[in-house]
Amino acid sequence: MKDKYVIEAEGLTKQFGAFTATDHISFRVHEGEIFGFLGANGAGKTTAMRMLCGLSRPSAGWATVAGYDVCRQAEDVKKHIGYMSQKFALYDDLTVFENLRLFGGIYGMSAKTIREKAERLLGELGLAAERDALVASLPLGWKQKLAFSLSIFHDPKIVFLDEPTGGVDPITRRQFWELIYRASDRGITVFVTTHYMDEAEYCDRVSIMVDGKIEALDTPANLKRDFGVATMYDVFLALARRAKRTSD
């Protein structure tokens, strides 16, 4: 199982004028793994993720996601991925169910399938009572859980999560990771960025980006051993101190 790659990137680069946000990064992600994508603010994580999702065109290099080229087959990539952006991006002026119905519909699900799946999902999330509430009225933690559930509502091969737990309390964070594990158990590959080093420990493998480049990539256990430290936090500090870019 572990030798099938669902994401392959080779020399992936994005330049904005003279600024190189992502600088020739190369890596592979196995099918079914939880891949942590770490880095300080401004290290180029979001830019890299947006290229993999077909939201941003690479300036150089290539990548395939779910077997499709992100440059030439961006729309095919989009059929097989889910994405949860850093900024909450669901429709505030639609209800919880209407959001599920819209995105389910866009991915070609029938109204009946959507209804059945939505009831089950909202039950699991404990949001059944909020089915017809406007999304704007939900607290942040619930919004995040809803956004995640929506990103895997159409059973994608891979889900990209950009700082999914930003600004959320520890209990909700814990529950959020249970959702991620559950998705992983269903065979969905999880590609996640985070600033929380305890979350990095939950990942099968992590990469750490510094100034647009990937400086380390391995399992959390191997990284701690190689750097001779006890926690992922210390690994991160050791690498992030090398950064020349100031964080935003």
Partner: protein
């Protein structure tokens, strides 16, 4: 194909829900046509009325008094002052209390009786050219009318004062009373459509950019054609609602019904709404903030309205301005609407307008789809 139709259905449903949940919009859809159609034809009229006249009667005779009375009896003129001298009358004009000064010479009656003619001095305030020109022609009508009256009644005048032998008797076609509202109302309907279905789409996509929701859409495999179509359909519906509502108001307020086919009206409106809402979406696609989109769209709308023939006839514009109007979709739509409403023109007569609007529609629709970028 079935799958595509399904997707479109979900997208359109979402647009309608969002539109109706923006509290102010349904109110605007109902109130704006009401206000524009009720107030504008009354306020923006080019008929000249209530001109202020100051009379300097140096004769104080029965015949001069009768002339003054005739002036003040006219609906076009209001007698604001009677001054003892021309100098004082001039002061009145400077102070804004008079648009016209009518000075009757001393010996007016005597000259009329003895010589069969006399003179009246008319001074006009030329600041507002339209007012001055129309006013003086009304005034001279009253004066010649008066002279004719005297000639008939008493044989006072030596000759008939009008150019005898050539009596011009115009018959106005399509708008028999030369009623200004009849001319104005179809144009105002077009303006309403531009304001609503031009402005709202301009704020739509860029609004999704500002709120970040466009990201979640762009990361799905939704087609660009489908997405743009789902943005257009609600404006079609709103536009047609406004048009029919405005037609109803025109009937209730002014008893105005289209002389031509309502089906043709619908056809032209459908095309026109497509054109202006696509223009709005294009502006939205290129903008980064709603403020920017609103300003750019405002710029276009002002030009469209000024260069459309809504307020001033295209035929009297200088050549370069006329050339600009050929690029203005509003011009074709207003022409078509007026021809349909007043003349009852057939499709064949409206063919140039139809072809122009169709070409425009193809270009801007394609542009709206192409300028929507799912990745950059």
């Amino acid at each position: 194909m079935k799958g595509v139709l399904m997707v479109i259905r979900f997208l359109i449903e979402k647009e309608f829900k969002q539109m109706m949940r923006t509290r102010v919009l349904p109110v605007v859809f109902v109130m704006l046509p009401l206000f524009v159609l009720f107030l504008m034809p009354k306020a923006a009229t080019q008929e000249v009325k209530n001109l202020k006249v100051c009379v300097v009667d140096n004769d104080h005779s029965p015949l001069s008094a009768r002339l003054v009375h005739k002036l003040s009896a006219s609906t076009y003129f209001v007698l604001t002052e009677t001054c003892p001298s021309y100098r004082e009358a001039l002061h009145c004009m400077e102070a804004g209390r008079a648009d016209f000064i009518v000075e009757i010479s001393p010996g007016f009656e005597r000259e009329l009786v003895a010589e069969g003619g006399s003179r009246v001095l008319v001074s006009v305030n030329g600041v507002n050219g339209v007012k001055a020109a129309l006013g003086s022609s009304y005034l001279s009508q009253i004066l010649t009318g008066y002279a004719a009256e005297l000639w008939e009644e008493e044989g006072l005048l030596a000759s008939r004062p009008v150019l005898a032998g050539l009596d011009v008797c115009p018959r106005y076609l399509f708008n028999a009373g030369l009623d200004y509202t009849v001319f104005m109302v179809p144009g105002l309907m077009a303006m309403l459509l531009v304001l609503v279905v031009g402005f709202l789409p301009a704020l739509n996509i860029v609004g999704e950019k500002e709120r970040g929701t466009i990201e979640q859409i762009n990361v799905t495999p939704v087609g660009r054609f489908d997405f743009i179509l789902s943005k257009l359909v609600p404006y079609w519906c709103v536009g047609l609602f406004i048009l029919f509502y405005a037609m109803l108001l025109a009937r209730v307020f002014y008893g105005l019904v289209p002389a031509g086919s309502v089906g043709l009206l619908l056809l032209f409106a459908t095309l026109f709404i497509l054109v202006v809402s696509c223009l709005g979406l294009i502006v939205s696609n290129y903008s980064d903030t709603m403020q920017q989109a609103a300003l750019v769209m405002f710029f276009f709308l002002v030009i469209f309205i000024l260069m459309s023939g809504l307020l001033t006839p295209v035929s009297s514009m200088p050549a370069w301005a006329k050339a600009v109007t050929y690029l203005n979709p509003l011009r074709y739509f207003i022409e078509a609407l007026r021809m349909l409403y007043l003349k009852g023109s057939s499709f064949l007569e409206l063919l140039p307008q139809f072809v122009a609007l169709s070409l425009y529609a193809v270009v801007v629709w394609t542009w709206a789809i192409v300028s929507y970028k799912k990745n950059r």
